[in-house]
């Protein structure tokens, strides 16, 4: 589904991704861990099409398409979803008109007619129930005044609405209480199937108890320095990152 080959990216002349290689198949869950500032969010943003990052080398192939040639909106319509580490507040844009526009643009891309208002509201209600988000939040402006945890739940709600093929969840677990963590993990698990895939960026092994990964990768200083099964997460939890750094040196 996704193939990243020797990806290099810069911001302001500073190289942040220094040759990433990663392959993800349908049905898989990949966890990416790594110290602060190692480039995890940068990788996620580059996948989603953030233009402030300058890709200097490498390729990203997504379901046969050259992702790097596509603007962010086309990537989203083709099935990529980024759950933001820091979701943006957009005062004055209501959640309803935001999601309605997003869902209908995706339908247009697939040559489907837009949802009628009543069909759309029905879909909203279904997804609200699925991810157990407070329906009051969906009556407000996008993320405006949402608590940290509410913002994260709202990301999962949007993911449920858009049903992506590849979801990249950037620290969706940070700032969630135990109950919220279960709710969010449940949502992700319910949306999982054999045709889609998930990349989970996290610092905590705890999340991986709920969403069990097939692979765990360690991103360090712009490169994936170790890939293994889910047991790697336990090892990291126990020993931290130093041993990997040392192993590399």
């Amino acid at each position: 589904m996704l193939k990243i080959i020797d990806l290099h990216a810069k911001i302001n002349e500073k190289e942040i991704l220094k040759g990433i290689n990663l392959e993800i198949k349908a049905g898989e869950v990949h966890a990416i861990m790594g110290p602060n500032g190692s480039g995890k969010s940068t990788l996620a943003a580059v996948l989603a099409g953030r233009e402030i990052f300058n890709v200097t080398k490498g390729e990203i192939i997504f379901n046969g398409k050259n992702l790097l040639e596509m603007p962010p909106e086309d990537r989203a319509r083709a099935g990529i979803f980024l759950g933001f580490q820091y979701p943006i507040e957009i005062p004055g844009v209501s959640m309803v008109s935001f999601m309605k526009t997003a869902v209908n643009e995706a339908r247009k891309y697939k040559n489907l007619p837009p949802y009628s208002s009543s069909d759309f509201l029905k879909l909203m209600r279904e997804k609200i129930a699925l991810v157990e988000i407070d329906s009051k939040l969906t009556n407000r402006s996008v993320n405006e005044g949402f608590s940290g945890g509410e913002k994260k739940k709202n990301e999962i709600f949007q993911m449920a609405m858009l049903e992506p093929t590849l979801a990249i969840l950037d620290e969706t677990d940070s700032g969630l209480d135990i109950d919220a963590l279960k709710i969010v993990s449940n949502g992700v698990n319910k949306l999982k199937n054999k045709d889609n895939a998930t990349i989970i960026i996290t610092h905590y092994q705890r999340l991986l108890d709920y969403i069990v990964p097939d692979f765990v990768h360690v991103l360090y200083n712009g490169k994936i320095v170790k890939s293994s099964g889910k047991e790697l997460a336990f090892e990291l939890e126990e020993k931290g990152y130093d041993w990997i750094k040392n192993e590399k040196l």
Partner: protein, 455 residues
């Protein structure tokens, strides 16, 4: 200095226009209006048309607007506008009678004054001066601060007609009243409507003024509105400015607030080549509230300039100003807001905010607060921002599959919402939302049910 000579030339055109027509104007008018004319024209001559040298007009080009040969209607115009055919504005699902001004003259030649809900009076200013001389004389040209604007003197010198609106004491008008202010002529035309509104003690009213141009000629309009709010009155006024870009307008409004009165003014500028709004609020009683809002969306070479002057003369009053603008292409905007708090006006709260989005490097906004505060127990704040569209928000929307164009639109629309949501008349709010939507999408801002070409 050749520029000065040239300017004197422009001025002499208007003095000549006055001298040649003063007899004709006076004969048709009322002595109450006539008695201000001579001193007004002298005042205008002394002060001149405001130029960029005037600190308060620094960013506005009025010279080009005034330097043109205009036709002037000294009588109620012969132009017949068949409203059923041309203008079927259904915003006022509120009141059946729409009040019309054509080139500054009251539109209805037969019913020059009409009753509203059986109690209030609305109609021709000239007719009101004749029919209700005592009432008229009590208020006409009595606003504070009139002398601050030379163009108000020009209006006073020529004043012929406009809208008179009177709500007696203890009358609450349920429905908003719409005034349609039309400019229509085959020739370039200069119009100077003069309006006078009085809202009696404990009374309440809402007015909507829609400014339109109905023909492609150049227009210059120099309007004056005086509003007197008696004790405990509530007045809401909305002005939708939608003239074509060959039109220039200076609209000066003077609010005079008495004790415990509440004012809401909201000026929405969608189109118009040169637009200058002067809003003067004179607070002359305690426990008053004044809310001034404004929204301007400009592009091409538009020049939109908002000036406010709030004078707090009595204690315990609150004023609140909130103006927002989106400027595209090479348009130039200005917001100049002055807050004056006199020594006696303790416990004044005065707030001012002006936020702008500039869509190009050529678009410019000049935002300048001016505070003059002589009382010590005062809460005052002001803030001005100008910036581009928030790139993080733009990316967030695009990452959900919303096209860049649509995402920009959503963000701009959201930006305008803070002003539009302050429109308390629901049908009008919906309509303006719709017009702003079209304006931001670059479509004609014509009301759906309106057959005329606004711009």
């Amino acid at each position: 200095m050749p520029e000065v000579v040239e300017k004197k030339d422009i001025m002499s055109t208007y003095l000549k226009l006055f001298n040649e027509n003063i007899d004709k104007i006076s004969v048709a008018s009322s002595p109450i209006i006539n008695k201000f004319r001579n001193s007004a024209i002298q005042d205008f001559e002394k002060k001149d048309i405001p130029s960029k040298k005037n600190e308060n007009y620094k960013y506005l080009d009025l010279k080009t607007a005034f330097d043109n040969k205009y036709n002037y209607y000294f009588n109620q115009s012969r132009i017949q506008v068949n409203l059923d055919e041309v203008f079927r504005c259904d915003v006022p699902e509120m009141d059946t009678e729409s009040i019309i001004l054509i080139n500054g003259w009251y539109g209805d030649k037969i019913n020059k004054l009409q009753k509203i809900e059986g109690k209030a009076i609305i109609g021709s200013l000239l007719e009101a001066a004749k029919q209700y001389p005592d009432l008229f004389e009590k208020y006409y040209s009595k606003s504070k601060n009139l002398e601050k604007e030379s163009l108000v003197s020009l209006n006073t010198a020529f004043a012929a007609d406009g809208i008179f609106f009177y709500v007696p004491d203890n009358v609450v008008l349920e429905k908003p009243i719409q005034i349609i202010n039309l400019l229509i002529s085959e020739e370039d035309t200069f119009a100077q409507p003069r309006n006078l509104f009085v809202i009696g003690k404990n009374s309440q009213a809402k007015i909507i003024i829609c400014d339109h141009t109905l023909s492609a000629s150049k227009f210059l309009s120099n309007s004056v509105l005086e509003v007197f709010q008696e004790e405990n009155s509530v007045f809401d006024i909305y002005n939708l400015q939608n003239e074509h870009n060959g039109a220039s307008k200076v609209a000066s409004v003077f609010f005079n607030q008495n004790t415990k009165s509440k004012l809401l003014s909201n000026i929405i500028t969608l189109h118009g080549g040169v637009v200058r709004n002067n809003v003067y609020v004179n607070i002359d009683g305690e426990h008053c509230e004044s809310n001034l809002y404004g929204l301007y969306l400009s592009d091409k070479w538009q020049n939109v300039d908002n000036y406010t002057y709030i004078s707090h003369n009595k204690p315990n009053c609150t004023s609140n100003q909130f103006y927002k603008g989106i400027l595209d292409d090479a348009s130039i905007g200005a917001f100049n807001g002055k807050i004056y708090v006199s020594r006696d006006a303790q416990k004044t709260s005065a707030y001012q905010a002006n936020n702008n989005i500039l869509l190009t490097n050529d678009a410019k906004i000049n935002s300048k607060p001016q505070l003059e505060i002589y009382a010590d127990d005062v809460k005052c704040s002001h803030g001005a921002t100008s910036g581009q569209i928030d790139e993080n928000a733009l990316f967030y929307l695009r990452s959900r599959g919303i096209s860049e164009k649509e995402a920009r639109f959503l963000l701009l629309y959201a930006f305008t919402n803070e002003i539009i949501k302050e429109i308390k008349v629901e049908v009008l709010r919906d309509r303006i939302n719709n017009l702003v939507d079209k304006r931001l999408r670059g479509e004609l801002t014509r009301c759906n049910s309106c057959v005329i070409n606004c711009c």
